[in-house]
Symmetry: C2
Subunit: 317 residues, 2 copies
């Protein structure tokens, strides 16, 4: 019997989001429960079992109907071995996640990190549909990425390819959480934007940003749109670095498309106009002209749709 369905699981620090979908990505049933990460790895694993059972029941399907399960999780992880090595908001420590799921349900199960899963989702169902070579980057608290090369996700030797957030674009730039200086993540992430805003307020600059108790990139975008010059200046500087990051991606991968997702991308035109301007300034013209720079096509459910796409993509091999 031909198996016509897959299950995608978006495993996050606060919730487990699971969906059963057909091979065109149409969701038949979906179930979301809290992760309760503090209860430990076995309990979280059992809650994943619970989500899988629930989406099966709700769709009136059995394991027999399911071609594959895809799981997206924060990393670092080993996609080939199906092991979550560690992650700040989940209790896993070198935990074999895939094996027990595969064994319990007798369904091929695949794991990958959030950024790769989002890249696969964008490639199969989102803005990157139909491309052969594309790079997805997510810009929020951190900066991560995934590359589709010759139609397939590129993982690299230790499953850490596209750690684009930790490439250096300013030799003596600010220190990054990773220990390095001048990383993209320390200069162009949502966190970096919020940090620059807090520094401006601490310096006593005349800005409407001082009216907030807590400053994140969200408030900086909001005040810049209201005409605050300090907020605009911060965005211009941070988005210039994001533009350098995208220009470097284009020079390196010569892709058909760079897709930008994550919280910062919701800033809209101000983000994309600046990034395109910097790319035009810094890239070889023919490569810049051949590459489109676009926002992510999948919305709030991109994590679980990406996991569905992972299941489809891996089981097609």
């Amino acid at each position: 019997m031909e198996k016509k369905y897959v299950i995608g699981i978006d495993l996050g620090g606060t919730k487990i989001n699971g969906a059963l979908a057909d091979l065109e990505g149409n969701v038949i049933s979906q179930h979301i429960i809290p992760t309760n990460a503090s209860e430990g790895e076995e309990k979280v694993l059992n809650r994943i079992f619970q989500v899988i059972e629930k989406v099966l029941t709700d769709a009136s399907k059995t394991s027999e109907d399911i071609k594959a399960i895809g799981i997206g999780s924060p990393g670092p992880l080993d996609a080939k071995k199906g092991i979550i090595i560690s992650t700040p908001n989940l209790p896993f420590d070198n935990f074999e996640l895939i094996k027990p799921i595969k064994e319990k349900f007798n369904i091929p199960t695949y794991l990958d990190n959030d950024a790769n899963v989002a890249a696969i989702g964008e490639h199969i169902f989102g803005a990157g549909k139909g491309t052969e070579n594309m790079v997805f980057i997510t810009v929020s608290t951190g900066v991560g990425g995934g590359a589709i090369i010759n139609g397939k996700i590129y993982r690299g030797n230790t499953c850490n390819a596209l750690e684009i957030g930790h490439t250096t674009i300013e030799k003596d730039g600010p220190r990054c959480n990773c220990g390095n200086y001048g990383c993209v993540e320390a200069l162009a992430s949502g966190t970096a934007i919020g940090k620059r805003a807090n520094e401006a307020v601490e310096r006593g600059e005349e800005t409407s940003l001082k009216n907030y108790k807590e400053l994140t990139s969200y408030e900086v975008f909001k005040e810049a749109k209201q005409g605050d010059k300090v907020a605009s200046g911060i965005l211009d500087s941070c988005l210039n670095y994001l533009g350098i990051c995208v220009a470097n991606i284009i020079a390196t991968f010569d892709p058909e498309m760079v897709i930008i997702g994550g919280g910062v991308s919701h800033g809209g035109n101000i983000v994309f106009d600046k990034v395109r301007e910097v790319v035009k300034e810094r890239c070889l013209e023919s490569m810049a002209n051949a590459c489109s720079i676009v926002p992510a096509g999948l919305g709030a459910d991109s994590g679980v749709i990406g996991a569905v796409a992972l299941a489809i993509s891996e089981s097609d091999d």
Copy 2:
């Protein structure tokens, strides 16, 4: 009849170097003639014909024995269409190089740029033998690169992937020939090393470099080895940038190996020690530890052996 030989052509601004080899890369016959580039594109094409005929005759082979011809040339070029778009030292202007060769000899013929050809050569016959994912960079007057991904050269959308020399690693760095600022090529190439040396002499710094009429990276390496502090300082600074470039490559590709070739790599330990030190400082530890950084394995004939490797690799598809 099984075809057991290939021909490789290294097309350069001063000479055309051709070899007929077996599928293990053993050269059976080789012929080198001046390019005489100033005579124009048709004359150069005829000289390529002449080299192909000569290596066939010298090896007592005919077109029937040859599986494929591989040609390495400076770019920019379109490998898919077999067209040389333009190149500073050759007379070609959007010249269809491959078609007339294919038609004359009735042998499948493939074209690629120098850096990709060298990467394929290193992968099949050189330091990168047996790797699945590796990046080759050449550091001489310019900085170029080629990536082997899942065992195959990665060309990108417009055949310009791995323009690693034109990635930005210092936002407000010196202007590059490409028009951008702070490119790897403007900071870490042999040309950049020579330029820093000339600037030091012009500033009147106390250094043995002032005893040379013309200063290139060669003299800087030589004087640094003799203990000249200014020369050592220049190398330290430029090789720091080269280290940042390699660290960015590792963060991006997570490769098994980075191979460094080109004139600057002949500097030896001083180059590799510094690059490895910077990578250790800047890269995520697990990725840095999993990636070896090594000198190119092919010597003076790397261009023509790379072209042989291109012929083998493309005709195997």
